[in-house]
Subunit: 340 residues, 2 copies
């Protein structure tokens, strides 16, 4: 047994309203519920850190975005969210009390989960410096898939990330740098966020509201862009295409801009470009490789860990959500769910 008293009842945050059209704090209600006991093969987890995702608003809608490969949120229940915590009671033969577990039962202090591909996953606690860092794996694997598996980023590449202050975007840029990219450029939506990207180690960053995107990229990447990690589409895609180097690889991850760009068909041919869309499905082997790399980079200080952290537990979440959806968050946003 871990030396933590398990309460009989604990708090959860339920979804009780839907965006109309904005998200407000009233859409959530704090509820006390029984913690319960794990069944055979399950574990009881004391939740420590939870991720706030940028697609959360889509998942709150009555008519969820059918393009998202994730279940929408139901009313009267805690929404799901990537979460890490420590096992306090285990009835699973391969998980010990004290082990660190990843699962999707967020928005609550305690969770009961099975262990398996679609349920909880036992984490190697020592692979990363702290439990909090393990929450990077979820956005990080999307960034890794785009940068490494899809775009094959490597030594000497000039890299552009659009929407670079998102959790995934910020990690994509850092992964590129850690893998030897010659130059990493990020676009974002405000002066503050430009500064944030510089703090993360982006070589250059700009506010997409400032002047011509195509000219800006031509200045920043005079020899062309080798790898483009695109969270936006629209004009940013067009500007990247106009500045693509020969053999450029574009990894399309998101379409924040709802405008479809024109495809310069002949340019794609003449430059021998590859444009590939992907969703965040990946092989377990990739996750091991990424986690090992992230651990090295965090320990040697090459990967800058600067998440937006929401302190104050579940009670602070509704306000944080409203702020995050107002696009004030920078990088990965994490909620601290317990005090130790």
């Amino acid at each position: 047994m871990v030396d933590v008293a398990v309460p009989v009842r604990a708090r959860e945050l339920h979804l009780v309203g839907r965006p109309d059209p904005d998200v407000s704090e009233d859409h959530f209600a704090e509820v006390e519920a029984e913690v319960g006991e794990p069944g055979e093969g399950q574990v009881l987890v004391r939740n420590e850190w939870m991720l706030l995702s940028v697609v959360l608003k889509d998942l709150m809608e009555t008519e969820p975005n059918p393009d998202l490969p994730m279940p929408a949120y139901a009313l009267g229940e805690p929404p799901w969210a990537p979460t890490v915590g420590t096992v306090v009671v285990s009835r699973h033969p391969e998980v010990a009390e004290g082990d660190l577990v990843f699962h999707n039962q967020g928005f609550r202090q305690y969770a009961i989960t099975g262990i398996g591909e679609w349920e909880g996953t036992r984490l190697d606690r020592d692979a990363l410096p702290s439990p909090q860092h393990h929450l990077l794996i979820s956005p990080g694997m999307t960034a890794w898939r785009g940068m490494v598996t899809v775009a094959g980023v490597g030594e000497g590449d000039t890299v552009f990330v659009s929407g670079a202050t998102s959790g995934v975007g910020s990690m994509a840029g850092q992964i590129a740098r850690c893998r030897g990219a010659a130059k990493v450029i990020g676009s974002t939506g405000s002066k503050d966020k430009v500064d944030y990207l510089r703090d993360l180690g982006f070589d250059d960053a700009f506010d997409y509201h400032d002047g011509s995107l195509t000219e800006r990229l031509a200045e920043l990447a005079p020899d062309g862009i080798d790898v483009f990690f695109d969270n936006v589409g629209g004009d940013q895609f067009s500007a990247a295409l106009a500045n693509a180097a020969e053999g450029a690889r574009f990894a399309l991850c998101g379409t924040l801009s709802r405008d479809n760009p024109v495809l310069e068909h002949e340019t794609v041919i003449v430059k021998g470009m590859t444009i590939r869309g992907f969703i965040s499905v990946y092989e377990p082997g990739d996750q091991e490789e990424f986690t090992a790399a992230l651990g090295r980079w965090l320990r040697d200080g090459r990967f800058v860990f600067a998440p937006t952290v929401v302190e104050g537990g579940l009670a602070a979440v509704p306000k944080a959500l409203v702020e995050q959806l107002g696009r004030r968050a920078r990088g990965v946003t994490m909620v601290k769910l317990s005090d130790d």
Copy 2:
């Protein structure tokens, strides 16, 4: 020595005019010139078959298309063109008289060429059934690169080729079929050409002038298109994208339509598509693999050999060129340059 008398003088066809805006027979003049003798390391080739390329008109222009990775044609000289012929005098240590050679000195009865990467290439005469078949290698390698190297066509794929009656397009469709594609669909510009595609073994073919391309493809490929080999762009690209299957691979080869399509950015992501442009640069190993496969397919009758053949030697070429440029040619167009 090969038992062929080598004449002192032979005929060539010179470019003497440029399109204004159309190509006419007057743009070519037949000239008699000295055959000459090969220098050390060179061979004298009696030309047998020459390819007429679809980009020939671009190469005839005063301001050639800068997107073509090939030299334009000079006035007062024979244009270059992919050609095969038999060595009648060899001063190269590794090439024997009687060997079959590929080079780019077309539009003439005899050619003197060096042997090397950018000059002539000795062919394995027995790899394909006849010298004529060796001319398939040039368009065939472009088709192979797009279908096999870029798109990775394989068993069970539903394949769509736009501009399928071009030399490259017709070979792309046949390569897909020979590699086990479940269904190969081609688009072209006339009823006659639709019939031609069916004769080549395309499972379905349609005239792009007939109705909605998107609806037509939806009928012909109800489970979606896995591989698209695009010679056209514009509406055909858009229709293929609208009908793409999950994980579809698009190989962009040419932009016959000058209209750029709109890129449905989110569709590329949600379907996990890959869109890749390529030009016909390839590794020697690819050529060996392709030639071996083509030899097997020709001998077992799976690959239908139905080129447009121009008989009558050089004298027949100007008229044939005007016709080919008028888009009446179907498949690979070859000129027979010698009578045996």
